[in-house]
Amino acid sequence: MNKIVPTFAEAVADIPDGATLMIDGFAGPGGTPQNLIRALRDHGARELTIISNTAGLASVIGFGTIPGDTPTDIGVLVENEQIRKVIASFPVSPSPSRPTAFERAYLEGKVDLEVVPQGTLAERIRAGGAGIPAFYTPTGVGTLMAEGREVREFDGREYLLETALKADFALLRADRADTLGNTLYKGTSRNFNGVMSTSADVVVMEVDEILEPGEIDAGAVHTPGLYVDRIVKIG
């Protein structure tokens, strides 16, 4: 039951070609598992489906990035031609003149894209982890998001049926974890980390600090250890 893995390379070594991965990142480097992403690039698994809020933004437009820093994001996996499909809410650069690697690959027909509203993306991932196969949401009614989706009325308002998302692996970033996997995120970097941790078969975390059980207050734990499979300490 040892969850501590010594290297990032070992933590991603069994990710096969064709796997579906959830990778955190609201859009900036905060919460993004940059070390695991680099390890996955070096590992080289291909034909991956990536579920993430963006398709790699920070490295191009500096979103949420300290001036001068050059964060790694999933753009490196696009450039390395490891990605078959991305499911995201914010897939391209807000600035058309500075397109991301993903946008170029998409327009060349090299990768597929499913755009999902951000709240629906979070809720679909949550549903995957919570045993809910599908749910109705008001988001997207009457828009392109409704294409191919069931529309149903409850109490006089229309809703879309959305289905759960699950993944084979989640690559996440936390501030601290104890050896049992109880996890704390920092500030706004909890974002999708706090959801993806529940809905992948194998949940891999990179953390700044590994603690002993009891060092995190039981009432303050963000992600209970039962969700977490592998922990790698940064640095």
Partner: protein
Amino acid sequence: MEKEKFPREIIAMRVARELQDGDVVNLGIGIPTLCSQFVPEGRSVVYHSESGVVGYGPMAEPGEEDIDLINAGGQFLAPIPGMAFFNSVEGFAMIRGGHIDVTVLGALQVSERGDLANWMLPDRGIGNVGGAMDLAAGAKRVIVAMEHTDRNGNSKIVRECDFPLTAQECVSLIVTDVAVISVERNGLLLTEVAPGWTANDVQEITEAPLNASPYLAGFRL
């Protein structure tokens, strides 16, 4: 009298007057972000961001940036007492569940029924929806803050949006650089105009038909 177009700050100031004491408010990127600077004194507004924080304060000072404390536009925030952090599923539960009193959003187009288009330029063939659809569908009140016309002079207030929609019939108030327009059951009601503008002047640059309020006035700032 010369017709004046207000700068972005005045649009934001006018929107800010709509924010009531105790309101939970989510501000979109662009002009909406400016609103927080202009909330009338004596009103305490609680800011929510889908990046995962509620009760945030001003932007961080240069040199004080923290990558773990950002708003949904990627701007760095300063920590203040009373904030609370949450994950993305909780943040959007707040939005979809009707716990956000007001959201202020930018727009590419708004229709006469209050349909909103603000996430995708059809020419580009790809777009960022982000949290816009959730906010437009979930917030109790949607206010649009934008320029009245696009850079080519085309009306952004239209009969039918031809850009992809964000949500149907969601906008309740439109504040532009020349007018304040309320979306009513029977159409758009022009209630305030910038200095030098008449109702006819505004109608001339607006595709959708406007009803001029009998109480038409200048911007209430």
